[in-house]
Amino acid sequence: MTAGAPLALALRRFGRQRLAVGALIVLAVLILLAAAAPLVEAALGVDATAVDLSARMRPPSAEHWLGTDELGRDVLVRLLYGARVSLFVGLTAAVAATVIGTVVGLTSGYLGGRADAVLMRFTDSVLALPALPLLIVLAAVDLDKVLPAPLAGSELTGLLRIVLIVALLGWTTVARLVRSASLALVRQDFVLAAAGAGAGALGIMFRHVLPNLLSPIVVAVTLSIGQVILLESVLSFLGLGIQPPMASWGNMLTNAQEIVWEAPRLAVLPGLFIFVTVIAFNVLGDGLQDAFDPRAE
């Protein structure tokens, strides 16, 4: 890729935005820490899930850098494991939602006409759903009644179920964005020229339309990761998301309300992690948007 490639230009513009670069660094550190969670666990000689009622709500110490929770577990290590959950759910659900949204939006924008009308009516209807209450209903569904027993019980299923639920309601923004962007693109002469030069419909979609949608899609993914992490934490906080003993930032706060009097630290720390992660993704997405915006040139 030469220096003149649009991507290189965007990267250069991105590099000038200090706030967004800072957010990227914060996220990189967080990802490294999350990846290193088992190492930290081993190095500190603690166990993220072992309950020790004799060591409840200990203040920070050499052994427990951030103290222990109401069941005597190490808070730091649980926060790091929680980061894995939040990042995994955030990333996969945002990507899943984006894939659904892109397929719907691209089909709608490229085909136009009746297909477009039907798909957009459907998207509008999904937008008119009470998202949070529906998420709760979906999250409360008893998997034993839907799936065979070994699947229903596994930790991975629990994770994927949250991913699926969030993606199922989260694709609409991407769909509308991709639709309007591809509507504008399809009218461009280079799409017509490609057809005249013998390109097929799929070739046009993948070689000409989709690459030009890359920047709005990347921005949409980044911005929706933050939203997904928030939703996951809400569901887990309400006891309907990630189930203990697996740690997630949301479920670490579930009991915080009762013990906020005794150990405010336990109410503050997980929320701070959620907040910092979400704001980092939002700032990053905003920075990418500015970097990709042709009007910024």
Partner: protein, 319 residues
């Protein structure tokens, strides 16, 4: 306009029907149906009794048949009783709606009152330090998890300072000041949760409006800058903002769920949550449908306001 309203109404009815069916099916997939609960409460119930009870309550019939009988009963005004509240379902929902309105309206009013001037300021000074500061603050607002924000407010104002109650709602007949004391923290949480998004929205719409040719020409004709901003540009920027507000108003009637739960505020969101968790199917179903209906209503209101604010659309009716 009538055409538009009728089309909207038809679409709303379809959405409501689909949602009622989906919810009905999903409720059936919840852990513990009424019979399970009965068996759990009384170990003496035999397997044969269970079968008889299932048949008696119609639980042995296929799901669509059960849905159909529920729907016909519901359309006949027979919405059933709430298990949790031991009242007719509508009574429980009505009280919750009133409480949510009490929480939502002041929160949104303050949110808009803060967002408008801040958004306009940031747009007018786009690119300056003021703009960047407003932008960062808006991001903070958007990125705060509301339940955590609620916990922090409780920690500071209820636990440490002891100024305000940690949750709940004033008893009926209590003086107005008492009601306000209970209202402050949850309303502040909701306000802080929405204001960031609104600021960014107003800013974007204002920047777009200030770019328009007629704004430039108003400036060139020598209109005072304040007039250009507050009269010409804001009017245009308001149109999309009002649409968002209408949508949000509908969404928040059930979407304030988290705040209501943290502050034990007996509103609509908390009602749905409790009904779902407590296997109160009748209540959960009706509350979900009413929540959906409110969103559709908010959409419609937004569209009507949109038409009223945007002269182009008004003129479009008579070419």
């Amino acid at each position: 306009m009538t055409r538009f309203l009728l089309a909207r109404l038809a679409q709303s009815v379809v959405v409501l029907l689909v949602i009622s069916y989906l919810s009905y099916v999903l409720m059936g997939l919840m852990p513990g149906d009424p019979i399970d609960l009965l068996v759990g409460a009384d170990p003496a119930v035999s397997a044969a009794d269970v079968e008889r009870l299932r048949a008696l309550q119609g639980l042995d019939r296929p799901i669509h048949e059960r849905y159909w009988s529920w729907l016909t009963a519901a359309l006949g005004g027979e919405l059933g009783h709430s298990r949790l509240y031991s009242t007719p379902v509508l009574d429980a929902v009505g009280a919750a709606l009133a409480n949510t309105a009490l929480l939502l309206l002041p929160a949104l009013a303050v949110s808009v009152a803060i967002a408008l001037p801040l958004g306009v300021l940031a747009a007018y000074r786009a690119g300056t330090a003021v703009d960047r500061l407003v932008n960062v603050l808006a991001f903070v607002g958007i990125s705060l998890p509301q339940f955590w924000l609620g916990l922090l407010l409780i920690l500071v104002f209820a636990v440490v300072l002891g100024w305000l109650p940690a949750g709940g709602i004033a008893r009926e007949g209590a003086p107005a000041a008492e009601h306000v004391r209970y209202l402050v923290l949850p309303a502040a949480t909701l306000m802080l949760g929405t204001v960031g998004g609104y600021v960014r929205y107003v800013r974007a719409a204002m920047i777009e409006a200030l770019r328009q040719d007629y704004i430039r020409s108003a400036r060139a004709r020598g209109a005072r800058p304040a007039r250009v901003i507050w009269v010409h540009a804001l009017r245009n920027a308001l149109t999309p903002f009002v649409t968002i507000l209408g949508l949000d108003l509908g969404l928040l009637f059930s979407g304030a769920l988290v705040t209501e739960t943290v502050f034990a505020w007996p509103g609509m969101g908390r009602l749905i949550f409790e009904a779902v968790i407590g296997n109160d199917y009748n209540l959960a179903l009706v509350a979900l449908l009413i929540a959906t209906g409110l969103i559709l209503l908010g959409n419609l209101l937004a569209d009507l306001c949109h038409g009223w604010l945007d002269p182009r659309i008004r003129a479009g009716a008579a070419p």
